[in-house]
Symmetry: C2
Subunit: 232 residues, 2 copies
DNA sequence: CGTTCGATTGATGTCAGTCAACCCGAGTGG
DNA sequence: CCACTCGGGTTGACTGACATCAATCGAACG
């Protein structure tokens, strides 16, 4: 794990704290206080940020990059539970309730994070209750995603789930263009499979079908152009 | 919907507010204030408490009884997302973020609820930040349940899921006895099926298998005695 | 150019969903 | 008291979707 301190200017530091939704209600002076509590870290693709079951003493906020949060079943299957990117945080359960990590977190690409020590964060929370509201907001949207996931996994077949995940990625990571929506996939086929709970071969097959129908176009393995979003 | 005001004594009212975890940190005087904001309602088995998509202007806290929160897919399948019982609340998303109900809520048995108007609740939240922390705690445990559900639905087969749901019910609703753990099932076979995302026939079959193996014993349709909890 | 890792494709097997019949206990009404 | 209905629950037969296994491909990279 690379753990070197940040070499950027103070002002950039401030921007990074300002970018984080949970601090967005604070004024310049308050942000300044927060900035002084932050320790930055950098992770390369594939590096583990948190191991399931380990003890955590900091809140971790993503500054740039993407990570996957996942569990391994004892048969060796992996279930991806969240994909976090800029502004998302995790480790909150370990701070607020006293609990060890519920899942592994691994960087999907080069990822910069801000970490805040448990005690510092609790102090902030007490002083600025709006932070608590922001956290509630974030937890609610996380609940929403999981509620959708449960519905999808409980009632939908493989094809519908692939369509859904493509829609989700398009919404989160897609860029409009004249050809359609260009989506940089955050996960490999296997990753997608582990996210929606099907076999990786099935993801391949269903995506191929979509391509044959002209609904999507695959560009290499990491990029997809969605030509007909309504068909998904 | 029966909507008559409560006829119980003031003191019982207090107990009801005291029983609710999110108010557990308040002192007697503060509880009193909360009590004056509460409107009680009663629902019979099968009554709808919330309709998906409807507008909500109160937080709803369960005082006694059980409810299911669920969605219907357009093919008519039902996915149960939560089972709420005493002390659980819902409708929070509609208050904190401005959003319509994400799911239907239906009483599984006679259910008494406390409701608090949006504005009143927001005021409380501002005055007593500890309530916010309690809510975060509750949201975290809800996240945990959904994370487990996603893992289970993504990686486990029907048999394992039936075992899991029996364990969950045993933990939440089971009573120890010399014969084993007696569990009053909150859901019908079909309900269980819609909770774990399998067909109702499959639930029947898997439970029969468990009975043949002597791991559980079914007493009528609503009750199960778990003889060998470790086998689940 | 060889190696490696991920993606694809095809062949096969199986789990669980679907369909249909039947059961059973609780109400209901004659 | 019996006949009927009705809503769950159970059981069996069938089948299809998807997992699994295995072979091959292809791009990336040293």
């Amino acid at each position: 794990m690379n753990n070197h301190s940040c070499n950027c200017e103070r002002c950039q530091h401030k921007i990074c704290a300002k970018r984080v939704p949970i601090f967005s209600t604070l004024n310049a002076e308050e942000i300044n206080r927060v900035v002084n509590l932050i320790i930055r870290k950098r992770y390369s693709r594939g590096e583990m940020i948190i191991l399931e079951g380990s003890h955590l003493d900091s809140l971790i906020i993503i500054n740039s990059g993407k990570v996957k949060a996942f569990r391994n079943t004892f048969e060796g299957k992996e279930q991806i539970i969240y994909i976090f990117s800029q502004g998302d945080f995790f480790g909150e359960k370990n701070l607020l309730i006293n609990q060890n990590a519920q899942y592994n977190v691994e960087a999907l690409e080069v990822t910069h994070v801000c970490t805040i020590k448990k005690d510092d964060f609790k102090k902030l929370l007490r002083e600025y209750p709006e932070i608590g509201l922001k956290i509630i907001e974030e937890l609610c949207s996380r609940l929403e995603r999981l509620e959708n996931a449960v519905e999808s996994m409980g009632t939908k077949n493989a094809e519908e789930r692939v369509n859904e995940v493509l829609l989700e990625f398009a919404r989160k990571y897609g860029k409009e263009s004249q050809n359609g929506i260009i989506v940089e996939l955050p996960l490999s086929r296997e990753g997608i499979a582990n996210y929606i709970g099907v076999a990786r071969e099935t993801v391949s097959r269903k995506m191929n079908l979509l391509q044959e129908e002209g609904i999507i176009e695959m560009v290499g393995n990491k990029k997809v152009i969605i030509r007909n979003i309504d068909a998904l």
